[in-house]
């Protein structure tokens, strides 16, 4: 177990005076539930959790922590899958769930201003009556917060066509690591000066803490067609994906579920009516203007049938479409039926390599005696191999770790990347070297230092320990090194 940290009483008292007693948690028993996020492989107990009720409270609390040189880490709904919101080096967790108000919906300018703790889907629900939605739709969208989406630059099934979070953020209000409250970006398409917003989105809470975001609203498509294609081999399904994209069709979403996933989902209360005897299913959604949509759908159906699809059916109505998506988006939770814990991996590969990579992933799992289920955004080659395991068994945990590493190496070796949308956090930090040189990462650190010079904000995430300090022996990005105030490195 890692070193345990406690919050000095004087600091706790100052935080209580800002936030009120109810919203400063320091009793060890109340901190337990904050030891992990949705990825239970990593557990780190924080010394305290604070739950501010406004951006101003958050800023004031950060100021107190920064003055006391105590690190801190932001957290939204704790649905993250890379351990990005966990407390390392005794970071105080700043929970933003209470900042849950939608402040402005402006249809004329197609934007909304929301607080960081607003649930992703709540914005789409609130704007549906006006004919709009917030396009990025992570599978956890019914629970995850906008603040977390901005931090992770979250994706989702429909990002294939509509783009990731970064394409939908127009501005943010940020508590900087010294407690200053600033605005980055604005309502316009471009702002004078550097594109700090582009740098900030996806910084995984290491540049500052988002308290508000101005988001782009997207018109709901005039028409939607959702197809479900059944394949008796994963290879056939993968080939269909590649051919659909190569044919110039840009589906709103193109998702694949393999047999293990289908079984888990069909046994849950969110069964989508999927056939369980197939090797793989593709959910293909096309949307846009009504005119021409039939033809696009027919072209996709043709490609599937040419690649040996057993059947392709079209969702008859909105209810059936919702059922299909409901089943897809809850696949992760439904895996709870297989084992007690779940490792949701995240990697990107070139679409053309899908069949061989999937085969190799099954082989890796088999080699470590593990069960893997794949459910992923096939259209942009964003894989999610899910490995179910029992976290109480250290041997299984070690095997999951080893298998994850092998899968990452595999994806990188075919020209892919170590994360598509879940972020690096602490889970992928050791894999960063697979794709970046030290020089690459030093530039990233230099940018981070511009926002977070003391390294107090979400320490030891994203960039791994690189060179070691000659005097203290710590990695140069390490918070302990920063505290030692040693500049020279060997």
């Amino acid at each position: 177990m890692a070193k345990s940290y406690t919050l000095p009483d004087a600091v706790a008292d100052r935080l209580v005076s800002i936030l009120g007693k109810r919203f400063v948690l320091t009793h060890p028993d109340e901190l337990l539930v904050y030891e992990s996020d949705a990825l239970t492989l990593h557990k780190h107990l924080p010394p305290a959790v604070i739950i501010p009720g406004s951006a101003e409270e958050a800023a004031a609390a950060v100021k107190v922590l920064a003055e006391a040189k105590i690190p801190f880490a932001p957290r939204g709904a704790g649905t993250g899958l890379s351990g990005g919101s966990l407390s390392l080096h005794g970071a105080v967790i700043i929970e933003l769930a209470r900042l849950n108000r939608i402040l402005k919906i402006d249809y004329e300018n197609r934007l909304a201003v929301v607080e960081a703790g607003v649930i992703n889907v709540h914005l789409s629900e609130a704007t549906a009556p006006g004919g709009f939605h917030y396009a990025p739709d992570p599978s956890s969208q019914m629970a995850c917060t906008i603040g977390g989406n901005v931090a992770e630059n979250s994706g989702g099934p429909h990002c294939l066509k509509y783009g990731m979070t970064t394409n939908h953020v127009l501005g943010v209000e940020v508590v900087l690591p010294n407690g200053d409250l600033i605005n980055i970006g604005g309502g316009g398409v471009d702002v004078p000066g550097y594109d700090l917003l582009g740098v900030y989105v996806g910084s995984e809470g290491t540049f500052g803490i988002t308290t508000k975001a101005t988001l782009r609203l997207t018109r709901l498509p005039e028409a939607v067609k959702t197809l479900l294609a059944e394949f008796m081999s994963v290879t056939d399904a993968s080939r269909s994906v590649s051919e659909i994209i190569a044919a110039g069709i840009l589906p709103a979403a193109l998702e694949m579920l393999d047999q293990e996933t289908i079984k888990a989902v069909e046994e849950s209360i969110f069964a989508g009516g999927f056939p369980i005897d197939v090797a793989a299913l593709l959910i293909i959604e096309v949307d846009g203007l009504r005119a021409g949509l039939e033809r696009t759908a027919a072209a996709a159906v043709d490609i599937c049938l040419r690649n040996n699809a057993r059947a392709v059916r079209v969702a008859a109505d909105e209810a059936e479409r919702q059922r299909l998506w409901g089943a897809r988006k809850r696949a992760f939770g439904a895996m709870g039926r297989i084992k007690t814990d779940l490792m949701v991996q995240d990697a990107v590969i070139p679409r053309s390599r899908l069949p061989e990579v999937l085969d190799e992933i099954y082989a890796i799992a088999k080699r470590y005696g593990l069960k893997v289920a794949n459910v992923f955004h096939a259209g942009d080659g964003n894989l999610h191999p899910n490995i179910s395991f029992d976290g109480r068994d250290p041997d299984q945990v070690a095997r999951v770790d080893a298998a994850s590493k092998d899968i990452m190496s595999l994806c990188v070796s075919v020209g892919g990347s170590i994360t598509g949308e879940h972020g690096v956090g602490m889970d992928k930090i050791d894999f960063m070297r697979m794709i970046f040189s030290d020089a690459d990462m030093e530039r990233m650190l230099a940018v981070r230092d511009a926002f977070n010079p003391e390294g107090l904000c979400n320490p030891s995430k994203v960039i791994p320990a690189m060179k070691t300090c000659r005097y203290c022996g710590f990695g140069i990005e390490d918070l302990r090194h920063k505290r030692a105030v040693h500049q020279e490195i060997s």
Partner: protein, 432 residues
């Protein structure tokens, strides 16, 4: 609420009940999709007061990482038991069962303060005896009808919690001044389904008008009513408070009473009681004598809306000109998974305009006597409900559970609003 816990918070004993539910606890993969469905999490933003957090606390107790002390008690006590988390859980965590186990653990270890002792005394001594309960309900009714309750409420001499208690009682008055009471009941047909009704404790004590309306609607729909003598309180209040032994005792009495009749179906007009009786099979699963009987009985239990839709009852004769918002009781929509039946019935009433209510599926904060025990948190949850009702433009709210009728009614009264709350069967009764 501060809870005194026995000094010997001994983990070994505590783990026993939760231990038996380990499988259910481990079903949770920590995905967090339940968080926004939880009314207490939405108010507090504290993971400890979320379903995932509470399951994690239970898991920690069963793994001996956490003692059952005041922290565990605080967060288990703060749960409404609305089970909205079950509806959204993709893993199928049996949250309601886990909560009852955790509450039973707590009840068996804490000596409790005065309030806790009083609650236990009332539940175990009064709610188990029909005659005593009858007296208690008679006193409440007399106070309600005498005008004294209204006077005390209006006087504003009492604190908020006291006024809420009065408002709850006042809200149990009939909301409809219908002439249905005088209407003759239709003749029962011999080939008709044989139905027994659970009269319930609070239902018969404070909502006898709803019970009579239920009987009239059933008769009009061609059912034969059979009397189940010896029936008692369903035991839901006891199970939720962790008094499992008393709950089991009451369940066995009810099983005996309903088994002695020739009924095909047991119709229940209180969502909480219906959910409890449908779960008798779980409650008595370890009882060698009653396990099979409990399972049989649970199969026969139907909510009134579920039953009426099942037999194709059509309330259409009279016109009810009202703008009504339907609020789904948690123990109907989340525990019994009945969402559309009451809405479909209401839709078939001519002249009735059903207006959408945002957050209809979200708990009103009543949750038995949670509203009095956790006054502040409950009041915040209720306040959101009242806001949504006012925004809906409804002139009446309907909901099929006595606790919800009283909580929503009382919350409206506390805000000075005159919108009344009724049971859907009352509207169906005036239309059928």
């Amino acid at each position: 609420m501060a809870s005194a816990i026995g000094e010997s918070a001994n983990i070994e004993h505590l783990a026993t009940l939760l231990d038996r539910n380990r499988e259910g606890i481990y079903t949770c993969v920590h995905c967090g999709l339940c968080l926004p469905a939880c009314p207490t999490y939405r108010q507090l933003g504290d993971e400890n007061d979320s379903p995932r957090g509470r399951v994690y606390l239970m898991r920690a107790v069963s793994e001996s990482r956490l003692a059952i002390d005041s922290v565990f008690a605080e967060h288990i006590d703060s749960c409404l038991g609305c089970r909205a988390c079950e509806t959204v859980c993709p893993s199928g965590v049996p949250y309601g069962e886990l909560l009852e186990a955790a509450r039973a653990e707590l009840a068996s270890t804490r000596s409790g303060g005065v309030e806790q002792k009083l609650l236990r005394f009332v539940l175990n001594r009064f709610f188990t005896r029909r005659a005593l309960l009858g007296v208690l309900m008679w006193i409440a009714r007399t106070f309600r009808e005498s005008g004294l309750a209204q006077l005390a409420f209006d006087s504003k001499l009492l604190g908020n919690r006291g006024r809420l208690a009065l408002a709850l009682l006042l809200s149990s008055r009939p909301a409809l001044t219908s002439n249905a009471e005088n209407r003759a009941a239709g003749p029962s047909v011999s080939t008709s389904p044989k139905v027994a009704i659970l009269r319930g404790c609070v239902m018969e004590g404070l909502f006898s008008h709803v019970n009579r309306a239920t009987e009239r609607v059933l008769r009009k729909s061609g059912c034969e009513l059979v009397e189940a003598n010896g029936q008692v309180c369903c035991g839901a209040l006891h199970a939720h408070a962790g008094e499992l032994e008393t709950a089991k005792e009451l369940a066995r009495k009810n099983i005996d009473a309903f088994r002695a009749t020739t009924c095909d179906t047991i119709v229940i007009n209180s969502a909480g009681c219906g959910a409890a009786m449908k779960e008798y099979k779980h409650l008595l699963a370890d009882d060698p004598e009653y396990a099979a009987r409990a399972a049989d009985l649970s199969k026969k239990v139907k909510d009134i809306s579920e039953f009426l839709i099942g037999i194709g009852a059509k309330p259409s004769e009279a016109i009810v000109a009202r703008r009504v918002a339907y609020d789904a009781p948690c123990h109907l929509i989340h525990a019994q998974k009945i969402a559309s039946a009451p809405v479909d019935l209401l839709r078939s009433i001519r002249g009735l305009e059903l207006t959408p209510l945002i957050g209809s599926e979200t708990c009103c904060g009543g949750a038995g006597i949670y509203n009095l025990q956790q006054y502040e948190l409950s009041a915040k949850i209720a306040s959101d409900k009242v806001d949504n009702i006012l925004a809906s433009g409804a002139d009446m709210v309907v909901t099929g559970n006595p606790g919800c009728i009283m909580q929503i009614g009382a919350s409206l009264l506390m805000r000075g609003e005159s919108i009344r709350v009724a049971h859907p069967i009352e509207l169906i009764d005036s239309a059928i």
